[in-house]
Amino acid sequence: MDTKTKDCKELLTEVIDTGLCTLCGACAGGCPYLVSYKGRIVLLDNCTLSEGQCYEYCPRTYTDMDAISQQVFGVPYSEDELGTTKEVLIARSTDAQITERAQYGGAVTTLLSLALAEGFIDSAIMTRTSDDKTPIAFLAQNAAEVLQGAGSNYMACPVLQSYNHLPKDSNHSLAIVAMPCQALALTKMKKEPPQNRPSIDNVKLVIGLFCTWALSPDGFHQFLRENLDLPQVKKFDIPPPPANRFDAYTSSGTISFPLEQIRKFTMPTCAYCLDMTSEFSDISVGSVEGIEGWNTVIIRTDVGAKLMEMAKAKGKLETDNLPPQNLAHLKEAALLKKKRALKEIVKRSGDKNNLLYVGLSPNLADKLLA
């Protein structure tokens, strides 16, 4: 695949109009031409520049995985199923107020609150579920606001647009809660610092979430409106396998849908995504199969390690080892996602040597395609 940076027209023809767009928001809000609206990226006017930051930072345009891994971790792209890791463990918040609202262990909420309290960051860009149950990105600046973002929302949200919207001379020290595609985009920005956007050095902490796929905000929200009394819904959950269902918790009980019914609202781009555990974050967080109320936590960088140490030392998180069969399962699932994605990519490109946006070393590519 062509490796050079191109313009917004190419972004449309290669990514947005072809179903590869993940709605990460990296291209949106940084200029007057690209904005996100109701689950779509919209081009409001023509831009005449031949090279755009929109194309450059998109996680679905050509990405040299080794180069960006060097940028963040100082090593080439890891062959490990879970990516570059320092430590894998399980954790849960010791704060009842957090665990009450948390999806699983409340690790993300706890870590952010701690980082804010310690002055390590002054704001966090994250999502919360709005009144109509769509996800909305916002800037949290204290523990109470972070708590508003507790709980999972399974629809895609262009979180990075909120980063682009900050004044370009702002000196917030930021944390961003990111999906794997968003963490990837942020890493591309760290490699080639953005112009006329807030400084990427302001981003002190990236907390990545595990992700198998995301749901299309437009299509899935219509399904929700048609099948649920939305004001009554308190929480959504997709419990880990073998549950195979989508749960909506309402004040009068839980309504479940077979996962098959929900799958058709998956964003088409997710079929081409290799990253299940947010490999380019400081800390990645997900659920624990078979152990309710806990998070799986992967520490990847010194920044992540320092924050986790602080959380343990201050008694904000209780931690434990991830049981070996859970780890094995996690690695299996992560590897399966990589293999499935590459298979789909090759099917789409029609050529084993054309992996579309994924720039892998031939060695690793062969291994994964075998």
Partner: protein, 645 residues
């Protein structure tokens, strides 16, 4: 505008053609004038309205040309001389009434229609010649070839109309209407007028009376008799005359402004001894005997006339009817390609035609010098595209429309209409308007599109219309949409003026042509009374306007109305100081860089914004900027700063 009511007969005044026509109507003793604004005719009513009260006459801006013509006819029926004036499109609008008026005839008092054509459609949607209509509907038509004639013909036409009992047309074009010349004044009548409608018709007695209140196909024959009478008069009219040798190598048959061009051309080529000019003022019915006489002057006839080959074909018809053995001249004109069949004429084009026919050379200046001059002119004149004025609310409106349609994502379109906002076909309005035809057409077209759902049509349809156009022609289409349940949004751009034609008042402005305050016909009250949902927005509030448009095009079936209300900047600017002082912070402006790409100068196109090539940044042109502050809201870097003035 010069004062057309000067009481100084025998003196000369400098008038534009339209003022001369208005003066002619005054001298004819009219009591009633009605019109709808339309370039190049507007100054006729404009100048009449400004002195109407003083002169004891009545002048009105009617809601549209049809009503103007009908109202003027009403005055004629009641014994008051009346004038209706309009541009070529207005004549289309009144054609049904005219066709029937020709059958009824007019009242005791003369009725004159003045139609001003716009060759090259410099300020029109189409280029169209009024004269064939005279032939089509059997109406006498004249065309002045000078400013003096513009006055004299108008005055005389009222007499002719009364003599033969039918409406008469004076046709003018831009270069007579808007150019200036000396006009010798006549006397102004000082008599009281009394209006009374006394016609009683007897359907059993269809005698060829001049006026019968009911039209009848049986009266078609009488209409022809009236024309015959007019033709007789035309044969000896002082408005037709010949200039040139007894025997000419070339005879030019011409009329109107083309007579002036023809004289210029003959002089420039120095062929006065070879070329004769037959200038016709009375064009329909053709003064055939007069023309026949002059046909003997030359074997070669060149027709010089604006827009259609009207004289050309009429004379050819005439010649075809000449007795067997008559001489058939060689005709040159639009048919032969010697004169262009479209686009405005000028002396150079006539020179070219004559030179080609007579095979004479014409070199007005050194060729090298001419080339150099042309190059220099091109390089010094900056490229300026058609755009809205600085501070125009339409620019903001179409910015909101563009964004709303893009965000909506279903390929929505805007059907356009007639007014300043028609420029939204181009970059001025971000290419939003996709169709444009005539007054009220946008809503009619939208009404049709809005019924195509059964054929899979799901593109949002937005019909845009100005405030004056709304009253003129849009209401029937809106009612059609309601009655037939068509799905579209009607966006009315209410800038409280008929702006494109010169800020004439209309039913929404609360002022009449004669400067009297009057009832305001509220467009929102009217629409709401029809049961339509109406939203009113300030186009300068871009966020709210965009949001409202998105909501309107997303939900609801049947017509919905959005009124974008803000006064025309040129009107506001005369009354008030600029609301903001705007400047650009060069440190914040990133110009062509990623994150802007010169949005304000490259896309927004307000003439108050300048792109400075040297610094690579935008600047405010303090002379042109009107301080509306809208650009400050679109700058992605917050580099445009507006401070309350």
């Amino acid at each position: 505008m010069a004062s057309i009511d000067i009481d100084a007969p025998g003196t000369s005044q400098l008038f534009i053609g339209n003022e001369a026509i208005a003066r002619g109507a005054l001298e004819a003793g009219i009591g009633f004038a009605a019109a709808y604004p339309g370039t190049p005719s507007s100054e006729i009513m404009g100048s009449l309205a400004s002195i109407a009260k003083k002169m004891g006459i009545y002048a009105e801006w009617s809601i549209n040309e049809k009503v103007a013509m009908e109202a003027a006819a009403g005055a004629s029926f009641a014994g008051i001389r009346a004038l209706a004036s309009m541009k070529q499109n207005g004549v289309n609008v009144i054609s049904d009434f005219l066709a029937n008026l020709v059958m009824t005839g007019i009242g005791k008092a003369g009725l004159v229609l003045v139609s001003c054509d716009d060759p090259s459609a410099i300020s029109s949607s189409n280029e169209q010649d009024t004269r064939p209509l005279a032939k089509w509907l059997d109406i006498p038509l004249v065309e002045p070839g000078s400013f003096q004639e513009a006055k004299d013909m108008t005055k005389w036409l009222f007499d002719l109309a009364e003599e033969i009992g039918t409406i008469c047309i004076l046709r003018s074009v831009t270069r007579i209407a808007h150019a200036r010349g000396n006009v010798k004044l006549g006397k102004l009548p000082k008599k009281e007028q009394k209006a009374y409608f006394d016609q009683i018709h007897d359907l059993r007695n269809l005698m060829p009376t001049k006026f019968m209140t009911v039209p009848s196909a049986l009266r078609h024959a009488f209409a022809h008799l009236k024309l015959d009478k007019a033709r007789e008069t035309f044969e000896s009219s002082p408005f037709n005359y010949y200039l040139g040798p007894d025997k000419a190598e070339l005879l030019i048959i011409t009329c109107g402004s083309c007579w002036l061009y023809s004289q210029d051309a003959v002089k420039a080529l120095k062929v006065e001894d070879k070329v004769g000019i037959l200038k016709l003022g009375t064009l329909w019915p053709l003064p055939e005997k007069l023309i026949e006489e002059h046909l003997n002057k030359s074997r070669n006839i060149l027709f010089v006339e604006e827009i259609d080959p009207f004289l050309e074909r009429s004379v050819m018809e005439m010649v075809a009817n000449l007795p067997e053995g008559s001489r058939r001249p060689t005709f040159y004109g639009k048919r032969s390609g010697h004169m262009n069949a479209y686009g405005e004429l000028n002396p150079d084009l006539v020179i070219k035609a004559i030179a080609s026919i007579l095979s004479v050379g014409y070199q007005p200046r050194d060729i090298e010098y001419a080339k150099k001059a042309e190059e220099t002119a091109k390089s010094y004149v900056p490229e300026r595209m058609m755009t809205f004025c600085a501070g125009c609310p339409h620019r903001a409106t179409f910015w909101a429309v563009k964004n709303a349609l893009k965000l909506d994502g279903r390929d929505g379109l805007v059907t356009g209409d007639i007014g300043c906002y028609a420029m939204a076909l181009g970059p001025a309005g971000f290419f939003q308007v996709r169709t444009m035809h005539c007054m009220g057409a946008g809503t009619g077209v939208a009404s049709g599109l809005g019924k195509l759902g059964q054929f899979g049509f799901d593109q949002p349809v937005l019909a845009v219309v100005g405030d004056s156009t709304f009253y003129h022609a849009t209401i029937p289409a809106l009612i059609n949409g309601i009655y037939n349940q068509s799905n579209f949004v009607l966006m009315i751009l209410d800038n409280n003026a008929t702006a494109m034609t010169g800020f004439q008042p209309h039913p929404g402005t609360g002022m009449t042509a004669m400067g009297e305050p009057t009832k305001v016909v509220s467009m929102e009250a009217l629409c709401r009374s029809l049961g339509v949902h109406v939203e009113i927005c300030d186009p300068f509030d871009l966020e709210n306007s965009t949001e409202t448009l998105l909501k309107m095009i997303a939900d609801g079936s049947g017509p919905r109305v959005v009124i974008m209300r803000r006064e025309c900047e040129l009107v506001r600017g005369r009354k008030e100081k600029p609301p903001y002082k705007v400047h650009i912070d060069p440190d914040k402006c990133i110009g062509e860089a990623c994150g802007c790409d010169s949005l304000c100068t490259r896309v927004f196109h307000c003439p108050g914004l300048i792109w400075d090539k040297k610094t690579g940044k935008s600047k405010i042109d303090e002379v042109i900027c009107t301080g509306c502050g809208v650009c400050a809201d679109i700058c992605p870097q917050g580099a445009i700063i507006k401070e309350a003035a």
